[in-house]
Symmetry: C3
Subunit: 165 residues, 3 copies
């Protein structure tokens, strides 16, 4: 293989992604009685710091669809966690894996970053991938698409890869 000494400095900032997936993430928190429908569950039981759930920590195995309908066949699962982390507003932090196992894609995309809920669109990092997404890097933009308190929320995810192998 070639061996180069170089610094990647001007590559992708204003370029189009080499791959762009638009997906919808659906989260239904376990409330003690909805075991059949719940897709996530709280693991912390400390008293929150402030009035915006700071300390609530949730692990999830959430369906991901290509349209907004919770009832559509999932194209992936999102497996990971989020927690709330602000005293003065709703604000969260996510790390998770998109697990694809369909005819179209097999593989995973790994994502982490702050979910600054007060912003309409917030960017997390795609830090790696496997299978069809081998070594992927990029950005995932989250937008809240529906919010029904603890009962249900839906995020639109735009997964934009800028390094594709």
């Amino acid at each position: 293989p070639l061996t180069l000494t170089l610094t990647l400095t001007s590559a992708h900032k204003h370029e189009l992604p080499c791959k762009h997936l638009t997906l919808y993430y659906h989260d239904i928190l376990f409330n003690g009685t909805n075991q059949a429908n719940a897709t996530s569950t709280l693991i912390s039981n400390s008293a929150p710091l402030g009035s915006f759930n700071f300390s609530n920590f949730v692990v999830f195995d959430d369906p991901v669809t290509s349209d907004r309908l919770l009832t559509s066949p999932p194209v992936a699962r999102a497996q990971g966690f989020y927690f709330y982390d602000m005293k003065t507003d709703f604000n969260a932090w996510f790390a998770f894996t998109l697990v694809f196992n369909s005819g179209k894609y097999k593989g995973t995309i790994n994502i982490m970053g702050a979910d600054i809920i007060g912003q309409k669109a917030r960017d997390l990092s795609v830090v790696g991938g496997t299978g069809d997404f081998f070594m992927a890097r990029g950005i995932t933009t989250l937008r809240t698409d529906a919010f029904q308190g603890w009962a249900y929320f839906r995020l639109r995810m735009d997964v934009k890869l800028y390094e594709c192998y």
Copy 2:
């Protein structure tokens, strides 16, 4: 330094890794009485969602050896966490650091991703490294090598780096 505008698109998918380490990870969960031997401990105490430990969250400082023997001298520590996240089967999610501090290697490798236990081999992402593994990226393949319920489990880890500096 050179400044290039390029998209990495065809590099490594079918190439050999620039580095390949085969390691074994040993986990002994704290059960309240095995403090001398335990290498990990549960931090959540919520009731699981379903019958497969969904919500159980474990932090660990596990020995990593180059052969299968728990009693072999560790070549690294694995420090991080896993949690179970599925209602219908055992399934987990990991993030951790391999910490090397031996004659052979000094430095760390950072790993995260889904551990889809139902698959024989599952790939996580190597998202970074330090020291001898400065800026590493790649894939870590996990295989369950021994499983004795809560008492002990062992994973074979094949750490394959495709970007080496």
Copy 3:
């Protein structure tokens, strides 16, 4: 875009970072009564394994300043978590996002890795970034700059990016 088959092998190890930020991270743990000042909170309530807090898991929204003073105007927030993970000494693991939203920088830097507290300087991985730090990669070196038990600690962070877009 160009399509190259190459292996990055000799790039940055001995080169200067393309960007270097020196920052200070301030953490004040919630103790049940300091809600006005606290910036982080414990989410686990399991008994620690051993005498060094192994199992204590903390989520935070911490101010980050460009000098050592807690009272200086923050240049970023650090949002994420750490936990202790060793039986025989204080040792921790971090994952977090530096959130910049000032005149100088807008965007985020995502960081994870082991905080081997027994070492004077310890390196974590910068695994991604967004906005002004789009697709960043590198190393963050942590040094304990002040430690007052649970009440307050301060870390010096040297964020060194070796891939800048």
